[in-house]
Symmetry: C2
Subunit: 395 residues, 2 copies
């Protein structure tokens, strides 16, 4: 039986990883805060990453994908304040230059460095400031929090988590940092995440496990249904612990990290006042369960009702109806937490007061039981508040 224990240290919790950050003034030209971070593995690491599926991809996404194909990775350079997206050939050259400069200061090859950017789009990177920052970053074993703070945009707290996992062969560590899917002033930001581990994991297994774990965590969250050009999740495994965990053990640990960070991102969504877990059960197929859950989670009207503490079910059933999923209105049940709000497609006898108490909480669960099959899907989402609109009015 393996044991997982939460520890401090974030992305530096695993042996052989150091991190650091500095301020370059990327957004405004003036250094107001840290906005550039570097994460470094003292030994070569196997690496895997998942990137946005948006066809409009930011320059750093393209360069990172290229470097990942080339082999082992030693460092990640990340910045906030500028997404280096929709910046054409200049943007690609700038992302390459960020990798080269990082490689130079750490005595690596460019292709051993991945690049992540978040912030304004359509604006060229202020490269002199960025390059100066890269050469100034100081790396430390306690640098994770500083790095997590440097990549925040509209995030209100730094997002970090780490675990020590005890196996019968010994212990390994895994930890991560992330920034959220908030959007702000006047451009979209991004979901970025870096996870490091000192476990020994072959590259193929690392890729497969990350893909599955992202599917069950970051791909199940939605705040506004918009998908960024920059979304990136990176996983580095440097083997420094000497431990080769079983696939199941490693998957469980990684899932704990990715789900914890995904949940933090949703909880810290812009203007969010409710965290809602939406589960669609007994759908005719997995695709149906997913379509229905995502339609509910992305419905403007459903989200507005939640902002008002309204235990609405008509808008939910309506969203299921247009989701494309098979639905039989006359057998569908809908719950807020454990209380039915609709039974077999019509209003339940649950006192509205009790349902309102649930919908007024900071976190609750909505379950839709389609009674058509065996498939289920869970999505984590939020309400849609006036504050969200205010934050995203643009310039």
């Amino acid at each position: 039986m393996n044991k997982m224990r939460k520890i401090h240290g974030g992305v530096c919790a695993a042996e052989g990883f150091v991190a650091g950050a500095t301020g370059c003034g990327i957004k405004t030209g003036k250094v107001m805060r840290d906005d550039l971070a570097v994460i470094f593995s003292e030994a070569a690491a196997t690496a895997a990453a998942t990137f946005t599926t948006n066809k409009v991809k930011a320059a750093p996404v393209r360069i990172s994908a290229e470097h990942l194909r080339a082999g082992r990775i030693r460092a990640v350079v990340l910045n906030s304040g500028n997404a280096n997206a929709c910046t054409g050939a200049t943007g690609l050259a700038d992302a390459r230059a960020m990798a080269s400069a990082t490689a130079k200061s750490l005595a690596l090859k460019s292709s051993q460095v991945l690049v992540c950017s978040t912030g304004r789009i359509g604006v060229p990177m202020p490269m002199p400031l960025v390059l100066k920052g890269i050469s100034a970053v100081k790396l430390a074993g306690a640098g994770s929090t500083k790095a997590a703070k440097a990549i925040m945009t509209s995030d209100t707290f730094a997002k970090e988590i780490a675990l020590e996992v005890t196996t019968h062969d010994g212990n390994f560590r895994i930890g991560g940092l992330a920034k959220g899917a908030g959007m702000i002033d006047p451009n979209m930001a991004t979901m970025l995440c870096v996870v490091t581990t000192d476990a020994i994991v072959p590259a193929d297994a690392l890729r497969k496990t990350l893909r599955e774990s992202v599917e069950d965590s970051f791909n199940r969250i939605t705040i506004d249904g918009d998908m960024s050009t920059n979304d990136t999740v990176i996983l580095l495994a440097n083997g420094a612990s000497g431990i080769s965990p079983s696939p199941g053990t490693f998957r469980s640990a990684l899932d704990f990290i990715t789900r914890a960070l995904a949940r933090m991102i949703v909880e810290d969504g812009e203007g969010v006042s409710r965290f809602v877990e939406v589960e669609v059960r007994r759908a005719a197929s997995r695709a149906d369960a997913r379509k229905a859950a995502e339609a509910i989670a992305n419905s403007t009207l459903v989200k507005c009702a939640w902002a008002g503490g309204d235990p609405n079910w008509g808008r939910i059933l309506d969203a299921v109806g247009y989701s494309g999923a098979r639905v039989k209105e006359a057998v569908t049940d809908i719950f807020y937490d454990a209380l039915p709000v609709a039974v077999n497609g019509v209003v339940s006898r649950t006192p509205v007061k009790k349902l309102r108490q649930i919908a007024a909480k900071k976190a609750f669960r909505v379950t839709v039981d389609l009674k058509l099959g065996k498939a289920s899907h869970v999505v984590w989402t939020t309400d849609l508040t006036e504050e969200y609109v205010r934050l995203n009015l643009g310039e």
Copy 2:
């Protein structure tokens, strides 16, 4: 050459149609306003209708579809205050009873009456009030405006339009009324529309023309991306003018009516401060053009930017990127009215001040030129304001 001239009279402009409305107190039990309307054709009319494609359909939609299959139609009964949706077997019986009562008071068969409802969902219809109202409605040749007002929910103005069309054989008339796709307190409302004409149009041609015209009007508007359980567009042709217009002439006249009403619905959307025409040009396929235009029009972030008067293009390009449409970032141009904001995927040289002037207008056009093919698609949409969220907070 045919001539089209706007005339008064709405749904009663065509010969042989009368309408009326009364107050039943459907929503609150107290008669505060008219909430029930009847439109009557003095002669049997060929009829066509399009209904919501939501799999969760309100009772009146099911009953109307059934009656439409049975043959010629003489009357439509419509109410606001209660959508009779998600009401189970009771709801179906209530919708049938509304048709029967209307038929009885007009000496028709039940199957000659269509039923439309809009308002709260999941709440049983207060049938004694509704039936009393149906027997009290007085029909008149000048009753269109009264009927248009009776079916308003969160609409701020009654929506009517009519045309007289001159052909070489003589004149025919066509007119319509509609209510909007706003949503309010605490339930979803609906888009309802009835169009009447005294032209002679065979049933098959009527169905085909309506389907195509709805595709180019009501199916091109979006306010919040949510599709109601009750949406209905009805077209009645009673032939009273004795004129059989050519298919092209009739289509042009119908298009004028449906597009005018669709535009009114968007302009009267809840909390709307901008009317935006989104055109995607030179897409690789029609499906691509549509996907891209709809992704832009339904993007929460794009709509928030417009609310702020921000001539944003990064969020637009981002939405195109995740729409599923083929896109080559490096060749894509984006315009606000005639001014380029992005050229070949990067920011244009247009002064931001000029672009801001456009995005601050009450109505403007956004064009995305994909340069990949010949297909284009236009969607009419709105911004997303704090006022919209406030109106939809629910109970």
